[in-house]
């Protein structure tokens, strides 16, 4: 058991990039793979996940490069075409105010993706921190943290985020508050899982040894405990991107999230939805893009989960 876990730890260190490269000997033999190569190979075997990754990277590229190559700016108003359907000059049509739907969608895409990735990173870090601290210190710390987790689970996060962002500061940077709020209500379930995994780890010999050598607790958590659960954290962070994007667009849809003049896929969908039966192009482009991003993130997450899980069937025949 402990041997296997130490193996896992090495693995985790490799995942985080601190790996020593395989010796040329190993590479030549062509059979021995280090863990990272193994994971990459298992991931690549999953066609859905690979498609998801490619689509996600393409969308990220579109979000970054798009604003420089589209014919219209997102805040530009074309006085000659209001509510016009897709045409040669406006590839995805225009809105009621004469703004280009393509440019708006790309702008919204970049904001939604940015929010999604930031929230996922923040909430997974928070989950790792709280879960491992609770289990490692035990006693009153654990009780308190678990109680806070229960409390946050009881509070309906959607309503509370809506309340705070309605009353909070408005302006160009109000989306950062939204990121913080979404992260603050997104970590609890993972923290519970991290806690139960840490409980199993903290009594292992090497953790005990580190403790008796008076390695400080934060170092033990960061160097010996978290690397062991990094598989879970990687998968969780990936799936959280999708959840965060859905949360952000949902709030923005009701006008509680991203505020105009800033744009996200949620605000665009809300704008387009009221007239979706008559002028569907305003609604359809951001909506389809939203589904595609979340779908690709979920596919990547599933693929990662299979690739990282030693018991899964993704090992295929080669193993």
């Amino acid at each position: 058991m402990s041997e296997q876990l130490i193996g896992e730890q090495v693995v985790a260190a490799e995942l985080s990039g601190e790996t020593d490269n395989p010796t040329p000997e190993e590479q030549r033999s062509g059979k021995r793979l280090n863990r990272r190569q193994l994971i990459v190979r298992r991931f690549l075997r999953n066609k859905t996940a690979v498609v998801g990754l490619v689509v996600f990277l393409l969308l990220a590229l579109l979000a970054i490069v798009g604003p420089y190559v589209t014919p219209w700016g997102w805040d530009q108003i074309d006085d000659s075409s209001f509510l016009s359907p897709p045409s040669a000059s406006h590839w995805l049509g225009t809105t009621q105010e004469g703004r280009d739907v393509l440019a708006l969608t790309i702008k919204g895409l970049s904001k939604s993706m940015l929010v999604g990735v930031l929230v996922a990173l923040l909430s997974t870090s928070m989950a790792a921190l709280v879960g491992s601290v609770a289990a490692y210190f035990g006693m009153i710390v654990e009780k308190t943290l678990l109680w806070i987790i229960d409390l946050l689970l009881v509070i309906p996060s959607f309503l509370i985020i809506a309340v705070i962002s309605t009353g909070g500061p408005q302006g160009a940077y109000s989306w950062l508050l939204l990121v913080l709020l979404l992260a603050a209500f997104g970590w609890m379930l993972t923290a519970r899982v991290v806690r139960s995994l840490t409980l199993a780890l903290k009594d292992l010999d090497y953790v005990q040894a580190a403790r008796f050598m008076s390695v400080p607790a934060p170092t033990i958590i960061v160097r010996h405990i978290l690397p062991n659960i990094s598989s879970l954290l990687v998968v969780d962070a990936t799936l959280n991107v999708g959840g965060a994007i859905l949360g952000e667009t949902g709030l923005s849809y009701f006008g509680f999230g991203i505020q105009p003049p800033d744009t996200s896929l949620g605000t665009l969908i809300a704008d387009g939805q009221s007239s979706a039966t008559v002028f569907p192009w305003i609604f359809l482009s951001p909506a389809i893009l939203l589904v595609i991003i979340v779908l690709s993130v979920n596919a990547i997450g599933d693929g990662l989960r299979d690739a990282l899980d030693p018991n899964s069937g993704a090992s295929g025949r080669a193993m």
Binding site: V154, P156, L159, V163, G250, Y253, A287, L295, N298, D302
Partner: protein
């Protein structure tokens, strides 16, 4: 066992009390009912604005703890959840909307859950077969489509159908509309209005339960006791139904209890899009309408739902799992 449940219940009640109090303090600080009066045209004199706000315990000139105390006394001693900024009592409004939400949600949620569980178990038995893959892809797509997108797409399709056939078959605003005079017309009318929202709710619940049940079923299909059952000579269907399916339904039971109890919290999108004046839609309108007491009441009700769900799933496990039941 009984003592354990009572201790848990007390813990839940304390949790709920803290959560609702926090929600009140937060809503009373962040929302601004005064703004509603200040935009009136012709402008009201400040003194009368203040008087109306004080009358409903909403004035931000009163210290927040004092407002909280008045509100708490009202709730605890008179079961009075306060008033909206326009003076409508919140309690009866919430009660009425719970009825609307229930009529909307029950059908779709149950159909979604039951069909999802059945389809998940069905596809686990055919793992990696064509039908399993198709179902997995469908549920992945549905899972990645937010309610406000799927509902709107359904509305677009329904409008196209109505326009092309000339028959207003699909209805998508409100609970009721124009009724014919034939017997049972009221029922037909309600069902017509329920059709699309129910479809949306099925699309929400179905993929979730397909995934859960498929994973659980795969776990139990690979378990030793199922292999033993087969090795003893049990036919495959019987081994699957009696040994694999039964055990894999236990954890699903907890999700089921939780989903049923938290029905009301997730329906804001469906209710808003299809103009059902239910609780989820109330939550949204109270926040954008700076209605402090209404927001707190909805939050409190959702909190109660979550806790009832948690308690129910504890009880559900106790009933279904012989290891817990007999200990």
């Amino acid at each position: 066992m009984g003592r354990y449940l009572v201790r848990r219940l007390i813990n839940y009640i304390i949790l709920l009390f803290v959560a609702i109090s926090l929600a009140y303090l937060l809503a009373a600080t962040a929302l601004n009912p005064r703004a509603l009066y200040e935009v009136r045209n012709p402008p009201l004199p400040p003194a009368s604005i203040e008087a109306s706000l004080r009358q409903y315990n909403l004035s931000d000139k009163v210290p927040i703890l004092e407002r909280y105390w008045i509100w708490l006394k009202g709730v605890l001693f008179h079961w009075n959840w306060g008033y909206s900024p326009t003076g409508i009592p919140v309690g009866p409004e919430v009660a009425r909307r719970i009825g609307v939400s229930t009529r909307l949600l029950v059908l779709g949620t149950f159909i979604g859950i039951i069909s999802g569980v059945a389809a998940g178990a069905w596809s686990a038995v055919r793992q990696y077969g064509v039908r399993d893959r198709v179902l997995t892809v469908i549920s992945l797509i549905l899972l990645s489509t937010p309610t406000f997108v799927s509902a709107t797409i359904l509305i677009i399709l329904a409008t196209d159908f109505n326009n092309s056939t000339g028959i207003p078959f699909f209805e998508f605003t409100g609970e009721t509309g124009q009724q014919g005079t034939e017997p049972l017309a009221w029922l037909w009318d309600r069902l017509q209005h329920l059709l699309l929202p129910t479809l949306v709710l099925v699309m929400v619940n179905f993929p979730f339960f397909v995934r859960i049940q498929r994973n659980l079923m795969l776990d139990s299909l690979g378990a030793d006791y199922v292999r033993t059952a087969r090795a003893k000579g049990l036919r495959k269907e019987r081994a699957v139904m009696k040994h694999a399916l039964r055990t894999s339904l236990i954890p699903t039971g907890t999700y089921f209890a939780f989903s049923v109890a938290t029905l009301f919290t997730g329906a804001a999108f469906t209710e808003t899009i299809f103009s059902f004046n239910g609780l989820g839609q109330y939550g949204v309108t109270t926040i954008s309408g700076n209605d402090v007491n209404g927001t707190v009441a909805v939050t409190a009700f959702s909190g109660v739902c979550v806790l009832v769900g948690a308690m129910l799933s504890d009880v559900m496990v106790a009933i279904l799992d012989p290891r817990v039941r007999l200990s």
